[in-house]
Subunit: 436 residues, 2 copies
Amino acid sequence: MKRVEPVKVALLGCGVVGAEVTRLLHEQAADLTARIGAPLELVGIGVRRPGRDRGGLPVDSTLFTADVLSLVKRDDVDIVIEVVGGIEPARTWLVEALTRGKGVVTANKALLAEDGPTLHDAAADGGADLYYEAAVAGAIPLLRPLRESLHGDRITRVTGIVNGTTNYILSAMDDSGASFAEALEQATSLGYAEADPTADVEGFDAAAKAAILASLAFHTRVRAADVYREGVTEVTAADVASARAMGCTIKLLCIAERGPGNGTGPGSVSVRVYPAMIPRNHPLASVGDAFNAVFVEAEAAGQLMFYGRGAGGAPTASAILGDLVAVARHRLAGVRAASESAYADLRIRPIGEAWTRYHISLDVADRAGVLATVAGVFAKHNVSIATVRQSGRDEDAVLVIVTHMAQDAALAATVAELRELDTVRAVAGVLRVEGE
Amino acid sequence: MKRVEPVKVALLGCGVVGAEVTRLLHEQAADLTARIGAPLELVGIGVRRPGRDRGGLPVDSTLFTADVLSLVKRDDVDIVIEVVGGIEPARTWLVEALTRGKGVVTANKALLAEDGPTLHDAAADGGADLYYEAAVAGAIPLLRPLRESLHGDRITRVTGIVNGTTNYILSAMDDSGASFAEALEQATSLGYAEADPTADVEGFDAAAKAAILASLAFHTRVRAADVYREGVTEVTAADVASARAMGCTIKLLCIAERGPGNGTGPGSVSVRVYPAMIPRNHPLASVGDAFNAVFVEAEAAGQLMFYGRGAGGAPTASAILGDLVAVARHRLAGVRAASESAYADLRIRPIGEAWTRYHISLDVADRAGVLATVAGVFAKHNVSIATVRQSGRDEDAVLVIVTHMAQDAALAATVAELRELDTVRAVAGVLRVEGE
């Protein structure tokens, strides 16, 4: 068999994921060569501190360099893997690589969600592949199915648990009755939450992934800024107990949903991230611990679910290497994958136009006429009530109301007006309810 | 925008799935054109009876022809979709199409499992794409993730529920305590089982899918004949109750598992289909009704699960159209997908070498020394016992034994010897147990 020139790879970043990538490249070298048809050669690793001791990594220490831009520009580099994260300087490096025609494999969800179009445009200019399976739901093969397998179908809705940290926290609250603060502390001590957990618990991470999923599912450019976002910091133990009482559990969901257009328009899409109650018999309800899962509904395919580890060095590296094999094969064949598909260009609906249901807990004075007054507020906003449950008496009376489907604007206006009622001492909790 | 020549498609077969394909081609025409970059044109439909009334199909009646071979050979046909099924004449048609360089999209699991290499060789000869996502687990995007997303990883095990008919039957038995015959009748009346259910209930359908999955997961040519197969016809209500008593449920599983080689060899693969008990907390246990799910374990990715509808006209058509878009794009770009990957060529292990656990129910005489005699048989074959439970007394005594992991040959030899014991009146049930 004739000797085939290796495909040359530059790795940007060598933290947990990058180290795992070097390990897999080394351990799976023979298999990767057979699957690609040529060996992969790691020719450089861009890091901030090249001199740092990285004992145990199966790579030559001379490969490390702090001059990342020069590495990216090297003529002999065929493919760039980026696991640094953040907007800059990652964007500059990747745009440079793509416009020079180098394939790019990245796990950078923040950059893709904030400014994906710039990367896609650079890929189109350079005639280069841009792959990012690892950016959403770690090891779960999700983007390729959305990008390719379901291309003959019409996706109507994507509902996902895409943030492992918050899923761990909400699962712990559900299992043990812990408060948010207690569950967060537990997650931090186990390494599931970072020292500054803001990006996770405030839903920014999930919103970035929601933007990427929505873009692929609906052939429309959706950015993180287009995603309505609420985090989980205000979910209380009482909310969790209340969910349990109605046969539900609370999950931080990312939802991307096709909807009607404006009159004769081409339709619209609603993309949102918030904690919501879902019935315990929903396939997503049993996704515990730090696992991720994404539920996809399509007109012909029906309901599909993808489940697996959403984070961690090895799972993320698995997704990166899957992409790397695809890009390397394309280079050897002299082709590139289908580029970004954004032809549908659907209108992004604001949260007020989203259809959902509310679960509302009211602290009320237990006296005649309270329910009539409260119900009157719902009626005024054309929000239909599905169930009402009163617990406690006298000064401790609590009214729990679950609505039928209504537009979020009407539901929010209802809650705002309830807060003003004399007979309502406090709106103790408001959570959306998803899934029938 | 300049007018692009259409990609011309021939459809072979127009039953439930074929009709759904014509419907989707019609309804999604604008979206498909945008996603492919050229319109698709259905130029012929090969059927046995072209004159048959197919009211409501959105196609010109002149497209129908009984001369399928001529249709396949037509110079203007770019892509052939085959939804006829069976070995011949489908094989002849597809080999003809592939060697002429036409892309093929097929749902024909029987042909792929019986003689996949012939199709793959023809595809290689003709430089043509061969796609078959619809052949396994209907609409679930499964083959593409195995073929591509996980190519940088090392799959260790694939465990699937890939036959909807038997899953419906076993779920019904579990839910209601029905017998196999009652559950089959129910499945038939609801259209989940065919008039002749042999292919489903005897595990032939699942074995074909297991061969296809194992081939992709382990880069090795595995044929249906290589798959060890047991159906579900001998699963009794007592087995189901016994499974329930130990916190398990019974599912018809297809298992493809990497294993050691012979000494210094490159490893081996065990591929088998049989009903087995799995713990109720296993992700596959909650896959009810006629749904399919496939659980994949890989070294880096960890545990993944894919879930959805495994059969039905629309879900199958969704998978076919996803493949069709990929093949059409490749034709426009003048490329083809990576061909079959069978480089690993692992040895297929016989069932006797598979590691599993047995759940054995024995009708025994309730007298001193019985357990010692029975335990002696297990010890003789080096099979370690995990749990023993005795129920009933005197003439109705039943001994339920669950083993630790052992090779199937040793387990089978143990059961054979137990049947010969005077103190064992009958071996009432033997089922394998999978999942820890």
